[in-house]
């Protein structure tokens, strides 16, 4: 039996949920960042599955652009993390709850 579309959708939902859970329960800002990457990947899996099953290249182009946005997000996000660490000497998001430095 070949894998069905619903299998991929279910796997994607599970991965996305794990990512959401990580964002909620993690306190380390880098760990939260990696959970966001996991959520993006779960969505990418949905796009690729639909593109493959519907024979449409648009979904894969969406994945391409999502990856670019993820790379940009990684660059800017890690810059922000370094700036926060430089100002507060911590990576705990509870200690960075106000914008004032």
């Amino acid at each position: 039996m070949a894998p069905q579309l619903s299998w991929y959708l279910a796997l994607s939902a599970v991965l996305f949920t794990i990512g959401v859970t990580g964002v909620i329960i993690k306190r380390n800002i880098i760990a939260m960042f990696m959970c966001i990457e996991l959520m993006l990947n779960a969505v990418n899996l949905t796009f690729v599955a639909f593109a493959s099953f519907f024979q449409d290249v648009t979904g894969q182009l969406f994945v391409f652009i999502v990856m670019t946005v993820a790379a940009a997000e990684a660059a800017v996000g890690l810059g922000i993390i370094i700036a926060i660490f430089r100002n507060r000497e911590t990576l705990d998001v509870d200690d960075a709850s106000i914008l004032k430095l």
Binding site: N28, A49, V69, A72
Partner: protein, 218 residues
């Protein structure tokens, strides 16, 4: 056979994702996340999308994770300290939301009409490239502008302000640089304003002679 492969890679992905969330050391989390990325790339190959699979390994498992691991090691965080959880009312809410999500997954598995995957060649580099540079050219260009903005933003964020070395050159423009750039003997942060295009001209206008010898040495 394909179903067995799917189950293998799906279990690998879910296991690595759970390990990533359960891990307290961010470095181990990053390694688990690389496992998730690689197993997702295998799933992309199974979905007849070899280009996306290659980009997944190169961009995600390569570039982004190297950046994350670099930051983890740069900031030298050993592990999270344990603290009593605040917001305890969130725990039952999390259970309820997880039940809702499991219901949704069950709904998908039951109701989505299954059909056999046709042999697809939309994932090849040729078809992706032709679509990207004809029909989707505008999103492609917008993406490149986004990357440029992210690059400038990251450099601005990560830069330390006001840390110019003594042999830095005066950049044409409107910024104000301390006089110690052209005159090593000057007091720091002496901000007399001159408008020039080159360091040598600034030195001449300010009556500083020491730098010209220095620039010849360079």
């Amino acid at each position: 056979m394909l179903a067995l492969l799917f189950i293998l890679f799906a279990a690998l992905a879910v296991g690595c994702a759970l390990a990533m969330v359960a891990q307290r050391n961010p470095l181990y989390s990053a390694i688990s996340l690389v496992g998730v990325f690689v197993s997702l790339a295998c799933l992309y190959v199974m979905l007849a999308a070899p280009f996306i699979a290659a980009v997944q390994v190169i961009v995600y498992a390569g570039a982004i994770m190297v950046l994350v691991v670099f930051v983890i090691m740069l900031l030298n965080v050993e592990h999270e300290e344990r603290r009593p959880p605040r917001l305890k009312f969130l725990v039952p809410m999390a259970v309820v939301l997880a039940a809702v999500l499991i219901g949704e997954v069950t709904f998908i598995l039951v109701t989505v009409r299954d059909f056999a995957a046709p042999v697809s060649n939309v994932g090849l580099t040729h078809s992706i490239g032709s679509a990207l540079f004809t029909q989707y050219l505008l999103p492609f260009e917008i993406t490149s502008i986004l990357l440029l903005m992210a690059m400038v933003g990251a450099m601005t964020l990560a830069r330390r302000g006001g840390m110019l070395t003594a042999n830095a050159r005066v950049v044409p423009g409107t910024q104000q640089l301390p006089l110690s750039i052209v005159d090593p003997g000057a007091k720091p942060y002496d901000l007399r304003v001159v408008e020039t295009d080159t360091t040598d001209e600034a030195a001449r206008l300010l009556g500083v002679e020491g730098l010209r010898d220095q620039s010849k040495r360079d």
